[in-house]
């Protein structure tokens, strides 16, 4: 086996490595954007205005913060895995007062879900069978984003893209002049996809 063969093989392998790296970058820039579902739908049955008496471990950040966001993800839901993958590949999306409510039929499945998508760094609560989120907020759909202001639920949105839902601003309650809550800079209405 001559050196020439070895060097040619190495050169070809190097070209394949570079090609894969560039295709991977191209895919990360173009692929997901072309297929991502950017619709956001308000969940009408959610118990807006509710504030839990006691926050479970992992979600205390939502009770203390001026504004917080909880993403309800189920380990058995395909869309939730897409959302988890977004959080894994773009860690900056998990910045701020963001927490996860991981709904699962068993705690071991939640652990596996967290490890699979490298979600260890994000505060989270494992909600077996979704009992807590259903009882507290009437949420029975995932993935759902729960927006909080000072621990009070201000909006519940069914979504599929974290970046889109993070750009949504929660409604402002205008209690002083008696008006109903209004959405700020958000092209979304109850029960209608945008």
């Amino acid at each position: 086996m001559s050196y020439l063969f070895g060097f040619v093989a190495l050169l070809l392998a190097g070209a394949i490595v570079v090609l894969f790296a560039m295709l991977g970058e191209l895919s990360s820039r173009v692929g997901p954007a072309a297929t991502v579902d950017r619709s956001v739908t308000e969940l009408s049955e959610a118990l807006i205005g509710r504030s839990p008496d006691v926050w479970p471990d992992g979600l205390s950040v939502l009770g203390d913060a001026e504004e917080g966001l909880a993403l309800v993800l189920s380990t058995a839901c395909g869309s939730c895995k897409t959302v988890a993958e977004q959080l894994r590949s773009r860690p900056e999306l998990a910045s701020g007062n963001l927490a996860l409510v991981i709904s699962t039929s068993d705690a071991a499945g939640a652990d596996q879900f967290v490890k699979q998508f490298n979600l260890e760094r994000i505060p989270r609560y494992v909600d077996v069978d979704g009992d807590w989120v259903t009882a507290e907020f009437g949420v029975q759909v995932s993935p759902t984003a729960l927006m909080f202001r000072r621990g009070q639920l201000t909006a519940a949105l069914v979504f599929a893209d974290v970046e889109t839902v993070r750009a949504v601003r929660p409604p402002e309650r205008q209690e002083a002049n008696g008006q109903e809550e209004t959405w700020q800079d958000t092209p979304m209405t109850t029960g209608r996809r945008v």
Partner: protein, 183 residues
């Protein structure tokens, strides 16, 4: 013969890692530059220069490891890089860096941390063994490490981009729809 083969395979594996990492960083320096910028609090430009320089060094080390004439340079360079990865991994873990290391030019993957330190330790171990065990002056198959490294590069690259390969060759994903909580 057995020792020579084992040493050759280990060295070729380390060389493949260095080559994939180096060429990956040179082709797509952005993810590693973001990680370095977060870790060392550099601006984007110096971080990019540092990543490209590291990429050149890694690729050169990968080749030097498997060419007999350049092994005396390649082995210490591999050791220094391995030790550097250990140091960066530990520091990244202490600072709880959230960005992916971008080691192979991909933004996806685990955050910069202890896993990188473990990989660095493995590369350092190969360099130490290569230093302690004398490489034969006239190996039976002199080009075998080069061929093994080439094969290792292809396999490692395919593994690193398996999601892309599956998405291209596998079945088309169905549109996702909301599902029940706890389903």
């Amino acid at each position: 013969m057995g020792t020579e083969l084992a040493l050759g395979v280990a060295t070729a594996a380390a060389a493949a890692v260095f080559l994939c990492a180096g060429l990956g960083k040179l082709a797509v320096p952005g993810p590693a530059a973001r990680a370095i910028a977060e870790l060392l609090e550099f601006g984007p430009r110096p971080a990019g220069v540092l990543v490209r320089a590291t990429g050149v060094l890694e690729a050169a080390t990968g080749v030097a490891l498997v060419v007999p004439a350049t092994r005396p340079v390649g082995v210490p360079a591999a050791g220094v890089l391995g030790a550097g990865f250990i140091l960066l991994g530990v520091v990244a873990r202490m600072q709880r860096v959230s960005a992916s290391c971008g080691c192979f030019g991909s933004a996806q993957g685990h955050p910069f941390g202890l896993r990188n330190a473990v990989y660095g330790a493995a590369l350092l171990a190969v360099a130490v063994v290569d230093t302690l065990v004398p490489y034969p002056a006239h190996p039976a198959q002199p080009a075998l490490p080069l061929a093994l490294t080439a094969a290792g590069c292809v396999c490692l690259s395919a593994w690193l981009h398996r999601a892309l390969i599956i998405s291209v060759l596998g079945p088309r994903a169905r549109p996702s729809t909301p599902e029940g909580v706890g389903a």
